[in-house]
Subunit: 222 residues, 2 copies
DNA sequence: GAGATCCTATGCGCGTCCTGATCGTTGAAG
DNA sequence: CTTCAACGATCAGGACGCGCATAGGATCTC
C-alpha cells in the first residue's frame, strides 16, 4: 500500500510518515505541489494525503488534487487543512477529494479514516489476494478473476483456495485442510480435497494448486 | 441505511425519527450520551445525529462525537444545536463532525444535508445510482428506472438494493444485511432477505441481485 | 376500515457436496 | 528398460441442504 504525502511543514510531514510507516504503509514525501504532481504521475499510489496550503498558494492542495483527477489519477485523496468551515469542506470534496481532515487532528483519527477509505474503495487493500499467473481473489466479493474473466467458485472451492492463498509458502496435508475448513464434528474422507482441487483446476483452466506427491497441496508458483 | 439519533428532548426526537423513517431510514433513538455511545459501538450506523446539549452536560454531544471518532467510528456525524456562533461551529467540526445544523431548522434542510452527506460518503457525485443493465436508482424518490419504465419499490426493497448498489463489489450475508438495514430492536429471521430479493427480481424482471449460494447476495454484474 | 407492507411458514426444485469406482501417473525396485 | 504398486485425477451418481416462490396472517398507514 503506497501513500504519497504532500506537506510542506517538515514537522507534520515527519509525524505523518513515521506514523503511517509504522502502520505498514510505504510512504513518499513531497514538499510542494510541483514535486507532488511529479511523483503522483510516476508511481501508482493508493492514497494521496494533500495539505491544502502549500508553497505555491493558499489553495494549492485543492488545485493539485483537481488537476490530478482530471489527468485520470484514481487514487484516493484526503485533504489536510487548518480551516474547517463547511464551505471549505464542500470545496474540498467537490475538488475530487474523498475525505477531509481538519488540523489539528489526532493520529488515531487519521488512521481510522484511512482504513475506512481504503475499505470503502472496494475490493482493494486487504480484501484482495493476488495469486500467480495474474489471478486475483476478491475475498469480500467472493470471486476470482483474471483479465476480465470471472470464475465462479462454490463455497468449498473458494475456502480451499483462500486457505492456500493466505499461506502461499506452506504445504498442507489433506487432513490439515479438512481440520481448518470443516467444522469439528464433520467427518469426511480426505479424498474430498482431491475433488475440489480438481474442480478448481478445471474452472480456472490453470494449475493454481500444486500437488506435492505423498504430502498434500500448496499454492502454485509464478 | 441506519441512523442513530441522540437527543434528550422527546418531542424533537419523535419528530426526527418519524421524518427520517418516512424517508426510508431505519432509526434508533438514544436519550443520553451514554446510551448513544453504547449503541454506536454496537451497530454499524451510516449516520449519527447528535444533539449537542445532553443530560451529561452542555457540550456532551461534542464529547461523544469526538470520543467515538477516536475510537475509530467512521460513521458520518451531524450535530444539532441551538447555539450558532462561529466558535460553536468550529468546535463541532473539530470534534470530528461532518456537518452542523442550528435549531430551529426546517426538516427539509435536514433532509437535504443528510442526502448530500451520504452521497459524498458513498462516492457518487449525483442523486442517482447507476446499476447494471441500464437501471438507474433515484435515491430521492425511492424508485427505479430503465428506458422509461418505472418500477416502484417499497421501503425495504429499496433499502436492500441501495445497500448492495453502494458496495457493488462486496458480498453480503443475510445477517450482515439485517445488521445494516434493520434498527436494533428488530429481530427478524434471516430468510426475510430471500423474500425481498425475490420481490425485487419479480418487479424488475431482471436478476439485478446475484445469489452466492452458501454465502449470501451481491449486486449483479453487467 | 381498506389497502399496502412486512414478516413467517411451507413445499418444490436444483445446486452443491461427498462417495466410490475407474483410469492415468509417478517413481522405485528388479 | 521393464514392471508394479502406490498415489493422484477425474467422473458419475445419490443424498442432502439451500434458495426460490408462493400463500397467508400480523402490522402499519392513510
Amino acid at each position: 500500500m503506497r501513500v504519497l504525502i504532500v506537506e510542506d511543514d517538515p514537522h507534520i510531514a515527519e509525524l505523518l510518515r513515521d506514523g503511517l510507516t509504522e502502520d505498514g504503509y510505504d510512504c513518499d514525501l513531497a514538499r510542494s505541489a510541483a514535486e507532488g504532481a511529479e511523483l503522483a504521475r510516476l508511481f501508482p499510489y493508493s492514497l494521496l494525503l494533500l495539505d491544502v496550503m502549500l508553497p505555491e498558494g493558499i489553495d494549492a492542495g485543492y488545485h493539485l488534487g483537481q488537476q490530478l483527477r482530471e489527468e485520470g489519477i484514481t487514487a484516493l485523496m484526503m485533504y489536510l487543512t487548518a480551516r474547517g468551515t463547511v464551505e471549505d469542506r464542500v470545496e474540498g470534496l467537490e475538488a475530487g477529494g474523498d475525505d477531509y481532515l481538519v488540523k489539528p487532528f489526532a493520529f488515531r483519527e487519521l488512521r481510522a479514516r484511512i482504513r475506512a477509505l481504503l475499505r470503502r474503495a472496494g475490493g482493494s487493500a486487504q480484501n484482495a489476494l493476488t495469486l500467480p499467473n495474474g489471478w486475483v481473489m476478491d475475498l469480500g466479493g467472493r470471486e476470482l478473476h483474471r483479465a476480465g474473466v470471472r470464475v465462479d467458485l462454490t463455497r468449498r472451492e473458494f475456502a480451499l483456495l483462500e486457505l492456500l492463498a493466505l499461506h502461499p509458502e506452506r504445504a498442507f496435508t489433506r487432513d490439515e485442510i479438512i481440520g481448518r475448513l470443516w467444522s469439528g464434528d464433520a467427518c469426511v474422507e480426505p479424498k474430498v480435497i482431491d475433488v475440489y482441487v480438481s474442480t478448481v483446476r478445471r474452472k480456472t483452466e490453470d494449475r493454481l494448486i500444486e500437488t506435492l506427491r505423498g504430502t498434500g497441496y500448496r499454492l502454485g508458483r509464478a
